[in-house]
Amino acid sequence: MLNKTTILPTDSKALAQKLLRRLIYDEVHVLFVALGSGGPIETMVERAGKLAGKEGEPRWVAWARKPEMIQDVVAELKGDAKLLKQISGARAFTLALTDEVRDVITADEAEPDLVRIEDAYFSAEEKGGA
């Protein structure tokens, strides 16, 4: 069972975007957004959920099994321009408490281990980290 993970709906673009916007802008999280589906992505999501910590801690995971559903929301995101460009086709990205993109796990990288996922969370939590 996934821990602290919101699976965005794949059959309603409006609902998926609404949920994601709520997670980003209305709730205060260090957000790990996983993109895509398949075995390696599922493993990554499970690991990210475990490392999201306990209830009452700031980390959270959002899983967009169909990344095209949330393109509009991704286009609105702020952050380093280079990172924003990398999101397209990436495995995952993380957002800081201030809703900026801080790290992107690209498809070119090896399958992220626990340390890589932890690093993605740390990048989001470090002020000015990217």
Binding site: L51, L97, V115, E118
Partner: protein, 619 residues
């Protein structure tokens, strides 16, 4: 003349209070965290059961305590590597780097815990403020560790293993603090692996480690035995007495000298004048500091009062607004009741329209009040948070760090000169200590066999006095590289715990009451003092200020009839009995007197103690 002794008495008392101020304080008991820097850490266990870590600088230990000395093995290995006698420099550098990264990471984690526990209960906007900084600190240091662990490296594997172990052990998510603990575990595993590898290389390179200790006295230094590190014999067991001791031969000799010095009018006048001049010069410093602080305090008080008045006025305005709206609502309600009861002469329909208008006006007034409240409350807060007030309060907090410190330094210098003229030196670390070398009795130990802990009971270091110091050095060398010091620690040995001391001194006594018109009489006296009751202090306090309180016995002859009478007083001493003041009574006459005193060079009292054999100690 009548005012002078009382003024001097107050000045002396003021100096006693000043000496208890933060300028003279040292690290508080138990509040010094275990130090993380350096190779040697020292913990003191005193005779009263107290235990504390000693800081790296300004360390003070009670003269009879037991010291537990620990050597940081990991840092020692890393430092030993610098000799270049065999082990890979990169290995030592990695070890040192990981030790440093781990220490930084754990420091940051320790500050995050409280903020994290408040995360769930704080409001959204407050959450970010609460957590952002400490979280960032941990994240930055965590990333530094991860960057030192590229994929495929042993550290990376250790980190992954540690995180996986936590995941396997928990059913839901792994708490963030547990994750940090896992990261720390991973780094520690890697440090241990490197340590073992380095040790193997060290053994092949022939590096040795030595640690030695010396008791440093004003006129000499002698080595003392450290269990596991040398072959010196244990010193004679010598415990510095804490309880009352009878009048010793040395005290008697000093007292007799005092009696001689007080004979003759010319001698007495000269002593009075010298004592008064020197004491008055010293006492001007703390009074000046107190004046400066008082001035800053008055400024802060005036400003705070003005601001508070402004804030109160703004608050009154808010209260008036609320009251006006309430009255409006009451009026509307009264109108409604009148219609209900048929008590109005106006046409009911028109009356209802009137009431409706009143209700609308009341609603609008409430809305305006609610919307305007934040701005009005801000007006209340603004005078309390303005920069001028903050600056005024900051000046109050900073007063110790500015002119008063300089004045204190000058007073210390003047006192130093004064005491040097009286044959008392304020010893500190000298170049001679740095030149102390390990004797042949100090063992050369293989790095792997260095004891992690050793204890040094100070009572087994032989004769020592208040003000002596213990010096510990840790060095490393090899067959091809001369021994060099890696770490050195100095501990001042003072009589810190509550104890009784005796002191013979010269005082200047004057009767109180109607006999007060008489001048001062210089008389020999003997005090039994209780010291060490004000808690742990700095070395500077014990060398310069040290306050004592107790009973004074003096030989008085106010009538000048060569029939001395006993005077018994309560006495307060400071500057290590070099200044004292007291009030007492002459039991035979039933009359009171007061005195002040200044211990002059020919009146000395020293540290006394007992050896295991019961006889006098060998110095």
């Amino acid at each position: 003349m009548r005012r002078t002794p009382v003024t001097l008495g107050w000045l002396v008392a003021g100096a006693a209070l000043w000496a208890t101020c933060p300028l003279a304080k040292g690290p508080s008991d138990g509040k010094v965290a275990a130090p993380t820097l350096g190779l040697i850490t020292i913990q003191e266990a005193d005779q009263d059961g107290g235990r504390r870590w000693l800081p790296r600088s300004g360390a003070v230990s009670d003269i009879n305590s037991e010291l537990v000395i620990a050597v940081d093995h990991d840092r020692l290995l890393a430092a030993a590597d610098s000799l270049g006698a065999g082990p890979s420099p990169a290995l030592g550098q990695s070890l040192q780097q990981f030790v440093s990264l781990l220490a930084d990471f754990q420091d940051a984690v320790s500050t995050l815990g409280p903020a994290l526990s408040q995360w769930s209960s704080a409001t959204d906007s407050h959450r970010v403020d609460l957590l952002a900084d400490p979280l960032s600190q941990v994240a930055a240091r965590g990333r530094a560790i991860i960057h030192a662990a590229p994929p495929g490296s042993p550290l990376r594997e250790a980190l992954n293993r540690a995180l996986q172990a936590r995941i396997d052990a928990s059913s839901g998510g792994v708490g963030m603090l547990d994750q940090y603990a896992a990261i720390s575990d991973g780094v520690r595993q890697e440090i241990e692996r490197l340590r073992i590898e380095l040790a193997h290389q060290e053994a092949a390179g022939g590096v040795y480690v030595q640690m030695g200790a010396w008791l440093v006295r004003p006129d000499q230094s002698r080595p003392v035995h450290l269990e596991g590190f040398d072959d010196y014999p244990e010193g004679e067991s010598y415990e510095v007495a804490r309880g009352y001791l009878p009048f010793s031969d040395a005290d008697r000799a000093a007292y007799e000298k005092l009696i001689e010095s007080t004979k003759g009018e010319a001698g007495q006048q000269s002593l009075r004048h010298e004592a008064a001049e020197q004491l008055a010069a010293l006492m001007s410093v703390p009074t000046g500091c107190a004046d400066e602080f008082e001035s800053r305090l008055e400024d802060a008080q005036t400003m705070l009062k003005g601001r508070a008045d402004q804030a109160l006025q703004s608050l009154k305005t808010v209260a008036q607004d609320v009251s006006a709206v309430r009255d409006q609502a009451k009026q509307a309600l009264a109108g409604i009741r009148a219609i209900e009861q048929g008590a109005t002469s106006t046409d009911p329909v028109l009356a209802v329209f009137d009431i409706r208008r009143q209700a609308e006006a009341t609603t609008a007034a409430f809305k305006a009040l609610r919307e305007g409240l934040p701005a009005k409350l801000q007006q209340v807060l603004t005078p309390l948070t303005d920069r001028a007030l903050r600056d005024s309060l900051s000046r109050l907090l900073d007063w110790n760090s500015t002119q008063c410190s300089q004045k204190l330094e000058l007073a210390q210098h003047q006192l130093d000169q004064l005491l040097q003229a009286w044959g008392i030196t304020l010893a500190g670390s000298t170049a001679a200590e740095e030149a102390l070398k390990f004797g042949k009795e100090v063992r050369k130990l293989d790095v792997q066999n260095v004891p992690v802990l050793t204890t040094l009971p100070l009572v087994r270091t032989g004769y020592r006095e208040h003000g002596d110091a213990l010096l510990i050095k840790l060095g490393v060398g090899s067959a091809t590289v001369a021994s060099r010091t890696l770490d050195a620690r100095r501990v001042e040995l003072m009589r810190v715990l509550p104890h009784v001391e005796t002191a013979a001194s010269l005082v200047f006594a004057q009767p109180l009451g109607r006999d007060g018109r008489r001048g001062f009489q210089s008389v020999p006296s003997y005090s039994v003092l209780l010291k060490g009751i004000s808690g742990r202090r700095s070395a500077r306090y014990y060398r310069l200020f040290e306050i004592g309180a107790g009973v004074n016995f003096s030989t008085l002859d106010f009538e000048h009839d060569d029939r001395p009478e006993l005077g018994i007083s309560g006495v307060l001493t400071m500057f290590r009995e070099y200044a004292q003041v007291g009030v007492g009574v002459r039991p035979a006459e039933g009359r009171s007197f007061w005195f002040f005193g200044l211990k002059l060079p020919f009146a000395q009292s020293g540290t006394t103690g007992s050896t295991s054999s019961g006889g006098p100690p060998a110095k």
